[in-house]
């Protein structure tokens, strides 16, 4: 067990709270940097997907995990970012400009979608964002002279002038830099007044308002930031997959994204990454496991969906705090060994809350 003797307020604010943080995150960074030389190309590509989904997951985590607003149409923002990037790159725009445009356009769309969030919440907000997802998917399919419709659109590699990043390693480093940047931005936000305002809105709107938080402004801001990250993730996704079609941004993708943050652990930054790893590794595990299953089960088409569904139900039932919550328990078990008790993470039932103003 580690006890930290605090003598300075700065110790509460700094990112690495103790030597353990410095060591482990340093090790993580170092291994991510040497990964292109250590991993075979296939797994490097999978790691790139993890980074891309982690960026999108950070955005959705900000919205769902920290502001308490659920979006069932997040794939739409991914799609807006991906198609913006594809169209601009194919038109010869330099990469930094095009990805900024992808993020900004997504953010603008996110602000518009955020408007119903000022009035509706819970399941009704879910329905509104779901409907928005369908509209965008349909729009991408119908706006053929820009998006190529259902025939699809191929995407050139990212380039500035004549210098193009077309190797797997190069693109991996690009994603790594953007992912680290996005993570730092979100971590910074959450230790500053803006992030605390989001958390306040999640836990009690009425109280947040009486503390002087402008609900409409912060909810819109949360939607905009979340959509911007989804747009940036979408832009990278477009380059990675090199071929876009509207059905990649359907309701299934939206549910995958939501699954990612719920299984990762709502309300934690680590959760976005653990969820992204889950989302990428799970299909691999399923296809590996196929060979060991009887043919009737192993070769049936619905296997992946069934396993996903079962895993989600298991998480909601047994580990609502997700993979990160499980990790916290494991860590505490080791820290307190042999004093860990089973009920340590049981949340006390909250006291009656007033429903008057909800």
């Amino acid at each position: 067990m580690r006890f930290i003797f605090k003598t300075d307020y700065d110790q509460d604010i700094r990112l690495a709270k103790h030597g353990g943080h410095v060591f482990w995150y340093g090790l993580l960074c170092a291994s991510l940097v040497v990964a292109p030389w250590a991993l075979p190309e296939y797994w490097l590509a999978q790691l790139t997907f993890v980074l891309i989904y982690a960026i999108v997951g950070l955005g959705l985590m900000l919205l769902a995990g920290f502001t308490g607003l659920f979006s069932l149409g997040h794939a739409a923002f991914l799609g807006v970012g991906a198609y913006t990037e594809a169209v601009l790159t194919n038109a010869g725009w330099p990469f930094p400009v095009s990805i900024a445009c992808a993020g900004l356009l997504s953010a603008a769309v996110g602000m518009v979608v955020g408007l119903p969030a000022l009035r509706v919440k819970g399941i009704y907000l879910g329905m509104a964002t779901l409907a928005f997802g369908f509209i965008v998917e349909e729009g991408l399919a119908r706006w053929e002279h820009v998006t190529g419709g259902n025939a699809g659109l191929s995407v050139n590699p990212p380039a500035i002038g004549g210098w193009a990043i077309d190797s797997t390693e190069g693109f991996y480093f690009l994603c790594l830099v953007l992912c680290v940047g996005a993570t730092l931005a979100i971590v910074n936000l959450l230790r500053a007044p803006t992030g605390r305002a989001f958390v306040a809105i999640r836990d009690s709107e009425i109280s947040a308002q009486s503390m002087g938080i402008h609900l409409a402004r912060y909810k819109t801001l949360s939607f905009a930031l979340s959509a911007a990250l989804a747009g940036i993730g979408g832009a990278l996704y477009a380059h990675k997959i090199q071929f876009l079609s509207p059905d990649q941004f359907s309701i299934v993708q939206s549910i995958d994204l939501l699954l990612m943050v719920v299984i990762g652990g709502l309300g934690s930054i680590h959760g976005a990454f653990l969820g992204a790893i889950f989302l990428i590794v799970m299909p691999q595990l399923i296809s590996l496991g196929k060979d060991f299953l009887p043919e009737a089960i192993g070769q049936s088409t619905g296997l992946q969906g069934t396993v996903y569904g079962a895993v989600l139900i298991a998480f909601v039932l047994f580990e609502p705090m997700g993979l990160y919550g499980r990790w916290l328990k494991v860590r505490t078990w080791f820290q307190l060994f042999p004093f860990y008790r089973k009920g340590m993470f049981k949340r006390q039932k909250s006291f009656q809350k007033s429903d008057r103003l909800k």
Binding site: Y9, P193, S210, M211, K353, S354
Partner: protein, 276 residues
Amino acid sequence: MNDDLLLSASHLSVRFGGVLAVNNVSFDVRKGEVFTLIGPNGAGKTTVFNLISRIYTPTSGEILFNGAGGPLKLTGQPPHQVAGLGIARTFQNIELFEHATVLQNLLIGRHTQRRTGLLSDLLFTGKARAAEIAAREKVEQVIDFLDLQHHRESMVAGLPYGVRKVVELARALCTEPRLLLLDEPSSGLNVEETEDMAFWISDIKNELGITVLMVEHDMTLVSKVSDRVLAMSMGAELATGTPAEVQSHPGVIEAYLGTVDDVSSLRRENHVKEPA
């Protein structure tokens, strides 16, 4: 508006459908006093609070507040600006940010004082860091004032009710209010905690110089800390004055206990038939 008044409500009425929750209520809160609203359940006390914190809009009447920039009409302000004007409140059924630590809850109380924008928050610039430390220093003073040191890093969801009550008071103090609205500060507290609350309310008035407007049922606490009391019943005001004056006011006794006729009609001998 008179200079020694902080808040002045005149002819407030609010109607929810067929219910007249507050009926033509007028009162003044002087600077530096503890002003208490009492009354039976459903008298409209909390509704008056919600009118002041702009959660409801009055059907008629107006509220003037003597803010830092001179008197202004509170009824024309959007709800999220009320805190910035210097009015902080607590809630009857505690409304804390449950899945955050006590420290984070108190820091949210500093929101009205924020000086950093989105960009400096995202990059956590030197300015944001300095603002954080300044906010933290102020929060630490409040923690010290209300003896919350032990609970600084605890999650609110795991705290007992009595401590949550104090955390909510602390969060309101972190906004550096001129007027503090306390909605039943002693409800759910035991005798000892209620006594602590009484001391803190007097300290808030005397040491911090904050005017307090509270709703309270516990008459011991009311008489201990209040300078003036307004008694309400059925949405209308009954009496205003010192705690002793209001307690002995016949209308107030009637509202709480009923009239002599009501009581005597319950007496056994009035139901026993006289032997013929």
